[in-house]
Amino acid sequence: MYSRSFEYVAPASLEEAFSALGDDSKVLAGGMSLIPLMKMRLFSPGTVVDIGRISGLDTVEDAGDHISIGALVRHATTATNDLIATHAAALGMAASLVGDVQVRNQGTTCGSLAHADVAADQPAAAIACRATMVAQSASGTREIGAESFFVDALTSALRSDEILVALKVPKAGPGEGSAYDKLGRRGGHSDYAVAGAAAWVKRSNGTVEDARIALTGVGTRAMLAEGAGQAIIGTDGSDAAINAAAERALEGVTVLEDLWGSVEYKGHLAKVFVARALKAALANAG
């Protein structure tokens, strides 16, 4: 549990951080994932760029038509922030189920997203909540939709010279609601997801007008469950409609076995949690 030797840089501004970033560097925010990987020597960047001293990155802001969650916003903040509860409830719920108290106080939402663990909670919530990732580098800023941000296990669409400076989530209008639910590895909600699902819905006059559902834990990345999302649109959101939508949770999804479940079991859980997340999202939507 002793890392290889590396350079450590603690820039005071984003500009300084960009100039320190290169092919063999890694951004350090809360360090809850990066430090263990480095100590196990599974990952050995030449330079660690610690963005922890850059001011202005630790706020959740109301930006008119969306809210913006900065790179240094901790899970504990995401889990308890009023703006997030109002506009991205699924993300707040997902953040509240990450790790334990110490991890939630130290780790960051953007860090977890950039790390792209296959069983992390917040990526699915970000996809369902139609979030956009703000990736910034010395050469400019690009915005990446959450559904295309998660590429593979521990691989995101971020380039090595970029920092995920913020996460943008559209503000929720009337009739909109979202939720996240999972089975944790140690049972209940505890620990990484064996399987989990996030759902966002928009309801109008008793009909589900729009919906987005995403899964975590079942494959190599968090991903949209397009079939389930399509299936609930146009329905009345009844239990029967929810269950029918849940049955389509695995359309286009490749379920992988791991220590925590067989393909059959995880596929089954995906359906269970799509149903539970949908039900809770519909309840949130009022």
Partner: protein, 791 residues
């Protein structure tokens, strides 16, 4: 006098101010000048010949002082084991490796990072051989782990034949006759008691120093057995015992994993001597799964024979226990601890056979409970299945077959006698405190609503307080380490000139609160306030010979020795007080911090005056030597046999198989309690580890022998947020094995829990037809069992 020094009082732990403020000193906290650091190159494969081993690149790296391989240490022989059945562990791999994590080379460097860099630069070429992992395959000898052993089965324990000298009757025919009865109900379950990784909060750590001028070793180690380590080093290096000083400072948890002498401890001593420098190795969490012993790892079939009225006619176990690749301290002897309690709290003939097999995995040895949780699990699970089969309440069937209170001491078929017990009383208390009838009504109502609520009960009896001198004949001693044969207890009590007291004991805590409990014993005996008593432990140079902390033995054996020493000091103090009071010693009463003449409380002398007089030879009466201290040893005539019955309430999610533990009630009886709060703390920790085995923990090797759960990401431990508050109660049935009437409580919680939880989950699933689910009861396993039953 402070009232807190009364024995049997719940007092605050004296250890806590240092420990919870981070002021306790552990081996890795020590910072001697010029310290060097050790790291090990470990095998990434389970079984292979080493074709080549090249350390030249590693030796050239910055900060690297030395790299050692087998050839450098071959002259020291293999690691000494107390019960040397099987193949002993080479200090460093001798041309072959036999489990993932086996130490191949040892690096010594200026700092830990450089040491790890050098480890990575060592080039080992392995010729991989098929690994033996599956226990049934191992027992079949299809592939032998070690060419030089006749069989992978290195020992077989049978109920009647485990100790020929006892001349025990083979009860197998009786069990068979019971099976053949027309009215017999025979229930069998094939079950796994899975391998576990003991996880102490403090990983193991050893620091060694050699002084060539004095020819002495000073070794600090995170160990439960400092005297055994001292003996092992002296034996290995051919030194006289008093030239090896081992110190166990604060030890952050052990659970049996530090009840072992390890190759890294011997190797650290070797490097210290070879280099003339102080060296330290501290285990990393990642390597612990391959460097520290594992526990459990049994498969087997338990069979209970009884009548439909619930009378037990016989019990049979046929099991295979995984020893791992190499034998260490007790390895093969661990199942024997289970054998002694194979019949649990019940009066019935037992036929028991456990084959001990070697596999290409880490060594197994004592882990909290050590053989006893396995034995009780098999028994209590099949009893529960039997109760379901005949449709009888699980408490009722147990009560029908208990040894009755007037039958103690109860001689079991294994030759040992249960010292004392009142098993029905504990069950009655549990039924009352858990509101058992109310729970069953709640369950019925919940079932009607489609909820899967289960109520599980489980009893246990434990054997602990090791131990009786006679056990030395079958290996329970430290003779392999050159130490005296029997597992005595020892204690030294000294009243200092200022009337404070110093207590030095032969066992030390790894969390058991010796410093509090022993101050209670001595404070109670002498009438000296607890805060004036210091308790020391864990230094072999000048502390009384101690066997170590394991087998829930400290209080029953070393506690008793300390009690005896306290009485001796008290007698001497009375003689000195009598002299000062000009009275007869027989008339002197020591109470409330002073001595007075019986009937004349106004005529008294304080402890301060007595202590002062004790150290001034010229003021002492003739025939009384100066000083005020005594040392005693205690050799118990029997082990002690705690017992209890637990009850768990669970709810299973029918969609996911997720098990929620709703309630946990326990009634435990460990005889008299020196410190009830500490007793409850031990039970809480024990129950939590039992829950860990039942629901979470699983040390998994794949069939190639890769360790899949070497990090705490994959090896799931229960945490405070995963378990409910426990409802703890007691009955008190004193032991007559020692004058304190105590038994021991370190392992009881663990022994009583795993089967209780599984019984509850199976009870929840009984309406669906599920008869058994193997531990750990992870959601996927429970769901799969439900799916199978639904199909």
């Amino acid at each position: 006098m402070a009232t807190t020094s009364v024995m049997g009082g719940s007092v605050r732990r004296r250890e806590d101010p240092a420990l919870i403020q981070g002021r306790g000193i552990y081996v890795d906290d020590l910072q001697p000048v010029g310290l060097l650091h050790i790291a090990f190159n470990r095998s990434p494969v389970a079984r292979a010949k080493i074709k080549s081993l090249d350390t030249s690149a590693a030796k050239k790296l910055p900060g690297v002082i030395a790299v050692y391989t087998h050839d450098d240490v071959a002259h020291l022989g293999p690691l000494v084991a107390q019960v040397p059945i099987g193949k002993l562990r080479p200090l460093l791999a001798a041309g072959e490796v036999n489990h993932v994590g086996e130490a191949v080379a040892m690096v010594v460097a200026e700092n830990r990072f450089q040491a790890q860099d050098a480890v990575d630069a060592i080039d080992v070429d392995y010729d991989i051989l098929p690994a033996v992992i599956d226990l049934k395959k191992a027992a079949s000898n299809e592939v032998k782990v070690h060419d030089e052993l006749e069989s992978n089965i290195i020992h077989t324990w049978t109920y009647h034949g485990y100790w020929a000298a006892l001349g025990l009757e083979d009860l197998g025919p009786k069990v068979q006759a019971a099976k053949d009865r027309d009215d017999a109900v025979v229930v069998s379950l094939e079950m796994t008691n899975q391998r576990l990784i003991p996880v102490a909060i403090e990983p193991r750590s050893v620091m060694a120093e050699y002084n060539p001028g004095y020819s002495t070793f000073t070794v600090h180690s995170s160990t439960q057995v400092p005297h055994a380590l001292s003996g092992a080093i002296a034996t290995t290096f051919g030194m006289q015992a008093n030239h090896v000083r081992v110190i166990a400072p604060e030890v952050g948890g052990g659970f049996g994993s530090k009840l072992n002498v390890y190759n890294d401890e011997i190797l650290a001593a070797f490097a210290a001597k070879d280099l003339g420098r102080t060296v330290r190795w501290t285990e990393t969490r990642r390597e612990a799964a391959g460097s520290t012993i594992h526990g459990r790892g049994w498969i087997g079939t338990a069979t209970l024979v009884g009548t439909k009225d619930g009378e037990f006619l016989g019990y049979e176990l046929d099991a295979i226990a995984d020893m791992g690749a190499y034998t260490q301290n007790f390895t093969v002897a661990i199942p024997l601890l289970g054998l002694w309690i194979a019949s649990g709290q019940y009066k019935m003939p037992v036929s028991w056979k456990v084959d001990c097999v070697v596999t290409n995995t880490m060594t197994t040895d004592a882990y909290r409970g050590a053989g006893r949780p396995e034995a009780i699990y098999y028994l209590e699970r099949v009893i529960d299945a039997f109760a379901h089969e005949i449709g009888m309440d699980p408490f009722e069937v147990r009560k029908k077959n208990f040894w009755q209170p007037d039958e103690f001491p109860a001689v079991m078929g294994c030759g040992f006698a249960l010292d004392s017990g009142n098993y029905p009383a504990a069950v009655d208390k549990l039924i009352e405190v858990s509101d058992y009838q109310g729970l069953r009504q709640m369950q019925e109502k919940a079932r009607a609503e489609g909820r899967l609520i289960g109520i599980g009960v489980g009893s246990y009896v434990e054997v602990c307080g090791f131990g009786p001198a006679v056990l030395a004949e079958i290996g329970f001693s430290w003779t392999s380490y050159g130490l005296p044969a029997s597992f005595n207890g020892s204690g030294l009590v000294r009243v200092n000139p200022d009337a404070t007291a110093t207590v030095i004991i032969g066992t030390g805590p790894t969390g058991q609160s010796h410093e509090t409990a022993w101050a209670q014993i001595v404070g109670d005996g002498l009438g000296i306030p607890m805060e004036d008593i210091n308790v020391y432990h864990g230094d072999t140079r000048d502390h009384p010979m101690g066997i170590g902390t394991f087998g829930s033995r400290s209080i029953a054996v070393d506690g008793t020795a300390t009690y005896q020493a306290t009485q001796m000091v008290k007698e001497k103090a009375a003689a000195i007080a009598a002299h000062l009071l000009e009275a007869s010693a027989d008339d002197v009463v020591l109470a409330d911090g002073a001595a007075h003449v019986a009937g004349s409380p106004e005529k008294s002398v304080s402890w301060k005056a007595i202590a002062k007089a004790a150290y001034q030879a010229h003021t002492l009466p003739e025939g009384v030597t100066s000083g005020l201290e005594a040392q005693s040893t205690f050799s118990p005539g029997n082990a002690t046999w705690p017992f209890g019955t637990h009850l768990a309430v669970v709810e299973v999610d029918p969609d996911t198989g997720d098990v929620e533990l709703l309630q946990y009630h326990a009634v435990d009886d460990c005889g008299n309690q020196v410190s009830p709060m500490i007793v409850n703390g031990q039970i809480q920790g024990g129950i939590t580890q039992g829950i860990g085995q039942a629901l979470f923990e699983d040390a998994i090797y794949d069939q190639e022998g890769n360790m899949l759960t070497s990090s705490l990401l994959d090896y799931i431990l229960p945490t405070a947020t995963d378990v409910p508050s426990y409802d703890l109660h007691h009955t008190v049935t004193p032991s007559d094995v020692n004058p304190l009437g105590v038994k021991g409580i370190g392992e009881a919680g663990t022994i009583g829990t795993a089967h209780t939880i599984v019984n509850a989950v199976v009870d929840a699933l009984t309406p669906m037809g599920v008869k058994h689910v193997d531990m750990p009861l992870r959601p996927k396993r429970v769901w799969e069992a439900m799916q199978k039953a639904r199909a």
